[in-house]
């Protein structure tokens, strides 16, 4: 753990250097343009200063994003519509609901696949095909259809997020539920264990490491799903709405701060699952 602090800091520092340099490079055209229209020459230091402080830069400089993040999280009441914390919460609630639904659906399908021959032979290709459908394309239709049957608010977003998150869970859990070896299954047979007992005492416990790994992937997918779901709901609130609104008004700084917030949210949730994983596996004696 400690050993990785220095490398991480180095990499982060490198990213900042590249980022600042890229900001100069990408925003220079606009700076020159404006200077040309104003009929002035730009020195290099003026150029750098300008590219790092534009209102609507092609790439905002890190400190601009940081200031925006500060302004919209710390400086605003969290109930305010201008608070990023408020918008994060809107997105997070849909994410968590979608994640829960996706995990349940994924585990259910995996159990079906492992225990039912027909499902084993038929479900997987369709599950894979389902993931090749561009969700952004059908998200609006899902929202409209659900709206038509009277479901609105959190649930439609959560359903889209579920659609993205059940996949890694199915794949991981099928692997996990099948991870007990022939010998372990035979053992259960020698004790004349019922299918139920075999599931609860053997298959489920041995699938735990797989479950946690796939839940981490699913959590990140859920967040993407919630954001996708926010785009067509009229971009009312949430990080997706911030991204969208930022894009309509060319507010790149706002886009980047929403983006980083989303990534941070995902990272925190994944770390949380990791912590739960460690505790659980430790209590199960599966980790040292």
């Amino acid at each position: 753990m400690r050993k990785s602090v220095l490398p991480v800091l180095t990499v982060v520092a490198a990213i900042f250097v590249i980022w600042y340099a890229a900001a100069v490079w990408l925003n220079a055209a606009w700076a020159y343009d404006r200077a040309a229209r104003a009929g002035v020459e730009l020195s290099f230091s003026e150029l750098v200063a300008d590219t790092w402080s534009q209102d609507k830069p092609k790439l905002p400089a890190p400190h601009q994003v940081a200031v925006e993040l500060w302004d919209t999280t710390v400086d605003k009441k969290i109930t305010s519509k201008r608070s990023l914390v408020y918008h994060s919460w809107v997105t997070l609630s849909a994410t968590l609901l979608g994640f829960a639904l996706g995990t349940v659906l994924g585990i259910g399908l995996a159990i079906g696949i492992v225990y039912n021959r027909v499902m084993d032979m038929s479900v997987m290709p369709w599950v894979i095909a389902s993931q090749t459908i561009p969700i952004l394309a059908i998200a609006p239709m899902i929202i409209v259809v659900l709206n038509a049957v009277g479901i609105s608010g959190l649930l439609p977003k959560a359903i889209i997020s579920m659609y993205l998150s059940f996949f890694p869970v199915v794949v991981g859990m099928v692997k996990g539920l099948r991870s007990p070896g022939v010998m372990q299954l035979d053992q259960m047979k020698t004790w004349n264990a019922s299918a139920n007992q075999t599931f609860w005492k053997l298959r489920l416990p041995s699938s735990m490491p797989y479950l946690f790994t796939s839940m981490k992937v699913a959590m990140a997918a859920s967040l993407v799903g919630a954001i996708v779901g926010e785009l067509p709901t009229g971009a009312v609130a949430g990080l997706g709405a911030r991204l969208l609104a930022g894009s309509y008004y060319g507010q790149t700084i706002q886009i980047w701060s929403a983006l980083l917030m989303a990534a941070a949210l995902a990272a925190v949730m994944v770390a949380l699952i990791g912590a739960i994983q460690r505790v659980t596996l430790k209590r199960m004696g599966m980790a040292e």
């Binding site: 372990q184 053992q187 047979k189 004349n192 264990a193 416990p205 199960m284 599966m286």
Partner: protein
């Protein structure tokens, strides 16, 4: 349940009986005859060892008794009924070659697993677990996880697990394969004592000639391709067997017979 007159003149009870048993696996490379025309009767209280080169069908035969494989021909009964019925009535305990403990359960809870499954009452379970762990010298290790134990200790735990419930038959597939000789000797002694005391019927697969001779009342020598029984050697050793019986001429004589039987059926090519 067939009652026979054994050659010792006492009434004996046939516990496992195979008649013309055949088992062929269908594989991609064509059929593999794992067992061909196997005939064998095991009497109650017998300690029968199976020995033979790798791939001769020892494991397969044991698995047939346990209803883990279905023979493709012939008949086999366990306690006078089909292996499936015997399995359902939990007539036997099976010890696999590898310990196969569940890493997420402590040693104690690994041993109690079959008891939970079979629905023993809670208090009874605790008492039994304690007793069998004592038996295999693992008292005090209940709370440890398998990976905190050495291979030998794990193997002993797995034996304890098979002994925890009251099965009259014990099927053991190379249970001591992974142990060093001293520990093996010790467990051999313990197993003999247990057998003597409880009058269980034991079918035991091994690769070691001395082990087979030391433990058994009967030694079944098998040979591969197709798997069949080539020799059955009755032991003339007494039931009471101290470890140094292995240096007696009688012991060496039986061991020699077994080695000859083995060599005859061996092809050197696996």
């Amino acid at each position: 349940m067939s009652l026979d007159r054994g050659d010792t003149g006492v009434t004996t009870e046939t516990v496992i009986s195979a008649k013309g048993l055949n088992l062929t696996f269908q594989t991609n490379d064509g059929p593999v005859h794992a067992l061909r025309d196997v005939d064998l009767d095991i009497q109650k209280g017998d300690f029968v060892s199976f020995i033979g080169p790798s791939g001769c069908g020892k494991t397969t035969f044991l698995r047939c008794m346990a209803d883990l494989e279905t023979p493709t021909g012939g008949a086999i009964t366990v306690n006078g009924v089909s292996p499936e019925e015997a399995r359902r009535s939990r007539a036997y305990g099976y010890v696999f070659q590898a310990a196969g403990l569940y890493p997420w359960r402590t040693i104690g809870r690994n041993v109690s697993l079959p008891l939970e499954i079979m629905g023993y009452p809670k208090s009874d379970i605790a008492e039994r677990v304690e007793r069998v762990l004592e038996l295999v010298d693992l008292a005090g290790f209940e709370k440890k996880f398998p990976w905190q134990l050495s291979g030998g200790m794990q193997q002993r735990a797995s034996i304890a697990r098979a002994l925890a419930f009251d099965a009259d038959i014990l099927l053991m597939d190379e249970p001591f394969g992974a142990l060093d000789e001293i520990v093996r000797d010790h467990l051999n002694e313990q197993l003999l004592q247990l057998w003597d005391r409880t009058n269980k019927t034991i079918a035991f697969v091994t690769h070691s000639i001395p082990e087979a001779v030391y433990l058994s009342t009967r030694i079944v020598v098998m040979s591969p391709r197709p798997g069949r029984i080539t020799d059955v050697i009755e032991s003339t050793l007494p039931r009471e067997r101290p470890l140094d019986i292995r240096d007696t001429p009688e012991f060496l004589e039986i061991a020699h017979r077994v080695r000859e039987g083995l060599r005859a059926g061996h092809a050197y090519d696996d």
